[in-house]
C-alpha cells in the first residue's frame, strides 16, 4: 500500500511539475464552461419565451433536464475522450524512453504496485477535472434548486467512464517509448469504442447489438438520467480491471526485452 501511495504521489507530482495538468485542466474548464453557458442560454431563453406567452400554468422547466443532464452525457464525454490520452500517454512511454523504468523494475516493489500507483495518480487528476465541473453545477445550487441525486449519479457515471478510459490508455502506453504514438493509438481506440454505439441503430442481428453493447458510450446513458444500473457499473469496473490486467501482462513482457 505504501508503495502504491509513493507511486501515485510521484505521478501526480509529475503532472503538476509539467504543463500537462494545467493544459488539461484549462481545456477542460473552457469546454465545460462553454457547455454550461450554452445550456444556460437555452434554459433562460426557454424561461423568457414562456413568460412572453404568459404561460404561468405550464410546468416549470427543470434545471436537471435542461442543463445538468445534457452536460453530463453528451459533449463533455467526448472532451474526456480527447483528454484522457493526454493524461495516460506518458505513464509508461516516458519511463521507457528515459530509462527510469529500470529504477522501478529493480526496486523492491511488485509490478502490480507500480501499475496501481500510476493508475491512481492518473485517476486523481481525472477526479480533480470532474470536481472542476462542479464549480459550474454548484452555481445552479446557489441560484436554483436542482435535484441533487441525478447530479451525484451523473458525476459518478462520468468518473467511471473516465476511469475506464484511463485504464485502456495506460495499457496502450506500455507499447511504445513514444508518447505521441501512445496518445494517438489511445485516442483512436477510445473513439472507436465510443462510436460502437452507432451499431445499435444500424445493425440488424444480435451480434451487432452485442457489439454495440460493448461501447463505452452506451453504459453512461442511465447514469446521466440519474439511475445506477448494476450492469453498467459492472461494465466500467470490468474495463478498468481488464486494462490493469493487460498492463500487468505487458509490463511482464517488457522484461524479456533488451
Amino acid at each position: 500500500m505504501r508503495n502504491i501511495l509513493a507511486m501515485a504521489g510521484k505521478e501526480l507530482r509529475a503532472y503538476f511539475h509539467s504543463p500537462i495538468a494545467y493544459v488539461v485542466m484549462t481545456i477542460w474548464t473552457a469546454m465545460t464552461g462553454f457547455a454550461f453557458y450554452l445550456h444556460l442560454w437555452v434554459y433562460t431563453n426557454e424561461i423568457f419565451r414562456m413568460q412572453m406567452m404568459g404561460g404561468m400554468g405550464a410546468p416549470p422547466i427543470s434545471l436537471n433536464d435542461v442543463i445538468i443532464r445534457p452536460m453530463l452525457e453528451g459533449f463533455l464525454l467526448v472532451v474526456l475522450l480527447f483528454l484522457t490520452p493526454v493524461i495516460t500517454m506518458r505513464l509508461f512511454a516516458e519511463e521507457k524512453r528515459s530509462g527510469s523504468i529500470e529504477l522501478l523494475l529493480t526496486s523492491p516493489v511488485t509490478d502490480l504496485e507500480i501499475i496501481l500507483g500510476k493508475y491512481a495518480g492518473a485517476f486523481l487528476l481525472l477526479l480533480s477535472l470532474i470536481a472542476l465541473t462542479f464549480v459550474y453545477i454548484g452555481l445552479l445550487f446557489i441560484y436554483g434548486n436542482p435535484d441533487p441525486k441525478p447530479v451525484i449519479v451523473g458525476a459518478l457515471g462520468m468518473l467511471l467512464f473516465g476511469a475506464a478510459l484511463l485504464s485502456i490508455g495506460m495499457w496502450i502506453s506500455t507499447f511504445t517509448k513514444n508518447q505521441i504514438i501512445a496518445g494517438a493509438i489511445t485516442l483512436a481506440v477510445l473513439l472507436l469504442l465510443y462510436i460502437l454505439v452507432w451499431l445499435r441503430d444500424v445493425a440488424m442481428g444480435s451480434v451487432g447489438q452485442l457489439i454495440a453493447g460493448l461501447s463505452l458510450g452506451v453504459h453512461i446513458e442511465s447514469f446521466a438520467k440519474g439511475v445506477i444500473d448494476v450492469s453498467d457499473l459492472v461494465y466500467y469496473l470490468s474495463v478498468v480491471f481488464l486494462g490493469v490486467f493487460l498492463t500487468a501482462r505487458s509490463v511482464d513482457a517488457l522484461k524479456g526485452k533488451p
Binding site: 507511486m7 511539475h17 529493480t106 523492491p108 522484461k255 524479456g256
Partner: protein, 344 residues
C-alpha cells in the same frame, strides 16, 4: 510477515554458509551458469562468477559483450533464460523483493526524472526502496552528502550538468544503504575531473558495500577494482586481479622494428632469429616497413634483430620494445584465438 522474514534471514545465513564452508569470506553475489537469450540471439552464455563481501569487481568487455545484460539479471530487471543468480543469498527469480531490497543499481543512463528536484527524487526513491518512513528525510540528507550533491539538492535534475546527474544516479543507488551495488559504466561521459571524483567515491564505498561495476575502459578497472572479470561475446574470457591479468597475459615481449628494404625478405630473416615466435608486418605500405616481433618472455631480441638487419645491408631506422599496455591485453583477450590462450 515477521516470521517469514526471520525464516528468510535464516535461509540467507545458511545459504551463505553452504556456499563457503570453513571459509570466512562471504560470497554476496553468485552467478551460476547464467545464459540469457533474446529470441535467437544469445546475449550471455554460461557465465559463472562470484563476488565476495566488500569486494569491488570490475566487469570488463567491449560494447555489446553482455555486461549490461548480466547486470540487469543480477538486479532482477531481466529474468535469466537459464542458470541461477543469488544476491545476499536470495535467488533473484524466486525471491525478487528480498534480493532487490539489498541491491542498489545505477544503470548506464541515470534513471532520473528531469522534472523533479534532487531532494524530491531521492525522497521518492527512498520510499519505493523500503526506507522506513521516519528515516526518509535523514537518509536523503546523508546520501546527498555522501555523493556530493548537497549543494544542488533543491535544483531540478533536468537542469543539472551530466556530472551531477550521474552523482544523483549514484545517490539513488545508495539511498537504502544496500549491501550490493551494481554500477553500469559509472564514469561514462564524464570529464576527467569528474571521473577521478567518481572513482574516489567508489573506492570509499568498497568495504561497506559489495560493488560490481562495468566498464570498457581498462585503466578504470585497474584503478578501482580488486578483481576483474573479462567478458566478450557473452562469455567469460578471463578472471583475476588487474596485476594478475597483466602478468599472465604478457607471456611474450614485443619489439617494433622499422626497416627500409624488401618486406618479404626482412620478415623471413627475422622469423628465423632465435626466440622469436611471431613476426607481423604492421605497416608495409611505403619503402619503410614496420614489423612487430613477439619474443619469448625475458628474452631481449633487439641486438640480434639489429645485427640481422644491418648484416643484410638493409637500413635500420628504429628498434624499440613495446610493453603490453592494458589496452593491448584487452584487445588480445577480446580477439578470439588469443582469448582462448588467456583462459589457459
Amino acid at each position: 510477515m515477521l516470521a517469514a522474514r526471520a525464516l528468510n534471514d535464516e535461509r540467507r545465513i545458511s545459504g551463505v554458509w553452504g556456499a563457503a564452508p570453513g571459509d570466512n569470506r562471504v560470497s554476496m553475489i553468485q552467478v551460476e551458469h547464467l545464459t540469457k537469450r533474446y529470441g535467437p540471439t544469445v546475449a550471455v552464455s554460461d557465465v559463472s562468477f562470484e563476488v565476495q563481501k566488500g569486494e569491488v569487481l570490475g566487469f570488463l568487455g567491449p560494447n555489446g559483450a553482455g555486461k549490461t545484460t548480466t547486470m540487469r539479471v543480477i538486479t532482477g530487471y531481466l529474468p535469466p533464460t537459464e542458470g541461477k543468480v543469488t544476491v545476499a543469498g536470495f535467488d533473484v527469480v524466486e525471491n525478487p523483493i528480498e534480493a532487490k531490497r539489498r541491491t542498489g543499481y545505477l544503470p548506464e543512463t541515470p534513471p532520473v526524472y528531469p522534472d523533479m528536484t534532487v531532494r524530491e527524487y531521492l525522497g521518492f526513491v527512498a520510499r519505493i526502496k523500503a526506507v522506513p518512513r521516519a528515516e526518509v528525510k535523514k537518509r536523503v540528507e546523508e546520501t546527498c552528502e555522501k555523493s556530493a550533491v548537497t549543494e544542488v539538492r533543491d535544483r531540478q535534475i533536468g537542469k543539472l550538468s551530466k556530472g551531477y546527474r550521474q552523482r544523483v544516479g549514484l545517490a539513488q543507488a545508495l539511498i537504502h544503504n544496500p549491501e550490493v551495488l551494481v554500477l553500469d559504466e559509472p564514469t561514462a561521459g564524464l570529464d576527467p575531473k569528474q571521473i577521478i571524483e567518481t572513482r574516489e567515491l567508489i573506492k570509499n564505498l568498497a568495504g561497506q558495500h559489495t560493488v560490481v561495476l562495468s566498464t570498457h575502459i581498462l585503466p578504470e578497472a585497474s584503478k578501482t577494482c580488486q578483481r576483474v572479470v573479462v567478458i566478450n561475446h557473452g562469455q567469460v574470457v578471463a578472471v583475476g586481479t588487474p596485476d594478475d591479468l597483466t602478468r599472465r597475459l604478457q607471456g611474450y615481449e614485443t619489439v617494433l622494428v622499422t626497416v627500409e628494404g624488401p618486406a618479404a625478405e626482412i620478415i623471413d630473416k627475422l622469423q628465423r632469429l632465435e626466440g622469436v615466435n611471431l613476426v607481423e608486418p604492421r605497416d608495409a605500405s611505403g619503402p619503410r616497413v614496420t614489423i612487430e616481433l613477439h619474443a619469448e618472455r625475458g628474452h631481449d631480441v633487439r641486438p640480434e634483430a639489429a645485427r640481422a638487419v644491418v648484416e643484410s645491408g638493409w637500413k635500420l631506422f628504429e628498434i624499440k620494445t613495446s610493453g603490453l599496455s592494458l589496452e593491448e591485453i584487452f584487445l588480445q583477450l577480446t580477439t578470439k584465438d588469443l582469448g582462448e590462450q588467456a583462459v589457459n
